[in-house]
């Protein structure tokens, strides 16, 4: 019984962290699906989302706003606006001018952008980590056995619910709305979409904006969950989310969701049964295995060379 509870606890922790990976992974997978490049600055967009949320929360506290839902909502909206503008600007400045060149060129541009944003936040906010107020505290416990107590905290529940709502909204948006329809068309055949008069530049910008907005949601959630942020906050999370996107099949949105959850669970199981130090080994080991044996990922389709 105790073993089962322990397993359940790891599963809850894994799903929590995994769903935030999935939120960030969406940004990687959408951009790859449309223009076939890896936006390595996406982790930084997420980090900036977390910082913006923190600054907003601090600002609201000094203004004397105390009602929690209002604080969270305003922080969320500010983070989404700032991250989205940043996502839009990064595409405009660093990727659009080099689009259509050799594959390596946008990649290098992306890495440069990532280094730039990281260091910009270093300068603006300092390199030490800053405490993120635990706005949502407590939780409840259930099913104790022996000396083990299974628990779920409110922040975990908030993370699940928010992620679930975002994912559902995104799926509906992509499958039903005009922009979503155009996104799918552009990802299948950009040249043809262009010929039919779709403003493909706008659609590409839209995917950057949507991905960045979701990353900002993850930034606020994970900031509260971990309790601190620093300028390197986005680096590891970005790598993990990228791994999740590849695991699920890069270019596939359901793949990113699935990949995130699998990766989160794999990590928490490793922490729970082996040692926390092995969790990165396991997740990147998983990435290598997937690349070796199923390069298209779990839900990805084999890439057909576009003519």
């Amino acid at each position: 019984m105790q073993d089962l509870l322990y397993f359940g606890q790891q599963l809850i922790n894994g799903l929590t962290i995994g769903s935030t990976y999935a939120l960030i992974a969406i940004g990687y997978t959408m951009v790859y699906g449309i223009i076939g490049m890896i936006n390595f600055a996406h982790g930084e967009i997420y980090m900036i989302g977390a910082y913006t949320a923190l600054i907003t929360i601090t600002g609201l506290a000094t203004l004397g706003v105390t009602w929690l839902p209002v604080i969270l909502l305003i922080a969320l909206i500010c983070a989404m606006i700032v991250s989205s503008s940043m996502g839009w600007a990064v595409e405009r400045v660093a990727y659009r001018p080099v689009r259509g060149r050799h594959r390596l060129i946008p990649l290098i541009s992306a890495i440069g952008m990532s280094i730039f944003l990281q260091n910009y936040v270093h300068l603006a906010q300092g390199s030490r980590n800053i405490g993120f107020p635990a706005l949502i505290e407590g939780g409840f416990q259930f099913g104790s056995s022996g000396n083990f107590q299974m628990s779920i905290s409110w922040i975990q529940i908030v993370i699940f619910v928010t992620t679930f709502v975002c994912m559902t909204a995104l799926s509906l948006y992509i499958s039903r709305s005009r922009i979503g329809r155009a996104c799918r068309a552009v990802s299948q055949d950009l040249g043809m979409a262009n010929l039919l008069g779709i403003d493909t530049n706008r659609i590409i910008s839209a995917t950057f904006v949507i991905g960045a907005a979701l990353a900002a949601v993850a930034g606020l959630l994970l900031g509260m969950y971990y309790g601190s942020v620093d300028p390197l906050f986005g680096f590891i999370a970005g790598l993990k989310a990228f791994t999740a996107a590849v695991l699920g099949g890069i270019g596939s949105i359901p793949g990113a969701m699935l990949g995130g959850l699998i990766l989160g669970i794999a990590e928490s199981m490793t922490s729970g049964y082996l040692s926390g130090e092995y969790k990165d080994v396991v997740s990147f080991g998983l990435l290598i295995l997937i690349l070796l044996f199923k390069p298209t990922g779990l839900l990805g389709k084999p890439e057909v060379e576009k003519i």
């Binding site: 005009r178 922009i179 799918r184 068309a185 043809m192 010929l195 039919l196 403003d199 493909t200």
Partner: protein, 251 residues
């Protein structure tokens, strides 16, 4: 409405198109024929903005369009198809027709998050036009299938429907009958004639199927080895010695 004047296209040392001229009037079907490798598709690619021609002018309603980006040209009302089918294969048939009307729709990033009456009305209008064309090309029952799963002939017809929902003035069809069986080809020439007669669209056609070309063209331009060889009505072309030589070789 369309005038191509002394068009040339050079790829390195190869002069693929050399001083080709042709014109298309309102309400007319003009064909471009010629042996394989004559440069027909290259002419198309210049007209639709895929290539920037090395020389010559292309005028559409008096406006120079040579070297303009492809999406600008298509927005003027010159829409083309390709030798191979280029549908959005993983979208449904009706979605293919809806997305082609994208630029006529309000495309704010937030529109669609909330379905405003305006959004719905425009969406409904687009859907009406899509279903009209599905009916017209006989694909109504297929509306919710994935386009990639249609039979080849159906895909060809869907491509033409997709061009038509954009309300073009001039349609450029690159070998629309390639790979079709004789019955499908007959349906296709009925469809092309109806585009001209009922929807007042001019058509430029590249085609190898001579019965199709001779049957529906108002005028024909023959190109051989990148150079213009002859032009005239189907009867004139049929009896032109140069054309017979180019196709059959010298006797």
């Amino acid at each position: 409405m369309l005038e191509v004047q002394n068009l040339s296209m050079r790829f390195g040392g190869l002069l693929a198109v050399d001083q080709v001229s042709l014109d298309v009037q309102e309400h007319e079907i003009v064909s471009i024929i010629g042996p394989n490798g004559a440069g027909k598709t290259t002419v198309f690619n210049c007209m639709s903005g895929f290539y920037k021609p090395s020389g010559g002018k292309i005028l559409f309603r008096g406006q120079e369009i040579q070297g303009k980006p492809d999406y600008r040209i298509s927005r003027l009302g010159l829409v083309r198809t390709f030798q191979h089918v280029r549908l959005f294969g993983r979208m449904t048939v009706v979605e293919n027709l809806m997305v082609a009307q994208h630029r006529h729709l309000n495309t704010n990033l937030l529109s669609g998050l909330v379905a405003t009456p305006n959004y719905r009305a425009r969406e409904q209008k687009a859907l009406d036009r899509a279903s009209y064309w599905l009916e017209r090309v006989g694909l109504m029952e297929m509306a919710n299938r994935e386009a990639g799963n249609l039979a080849y002939g159906q895909q060809r017809r869907l491509e033409i429907a997709r061009c038509m929902v954009t309300e073009p003035q001039l349609l450029m069809l690159d070998e629309p009958a390639a790979g079709l069986n004789p019955a499908e080809t007959r349906d296709l020439d009925q469809l092309i004639i109806s585009l001209k007669e009922d929807y007042n669209v001019s058509v430029v056609l590249i085609e190898h199927d001579m019965s199709l070309v001779m049957g529906i063209s108002d005028r024909i331009n023959v190109i051989s080895q990148g150079r213009p060889l002859a032009s005239g009505t189907p009867d004139e072309i049929r009896n032109n010695d140069d054309v017979i030589k180019a196709y059959l070789g010298e006797a």
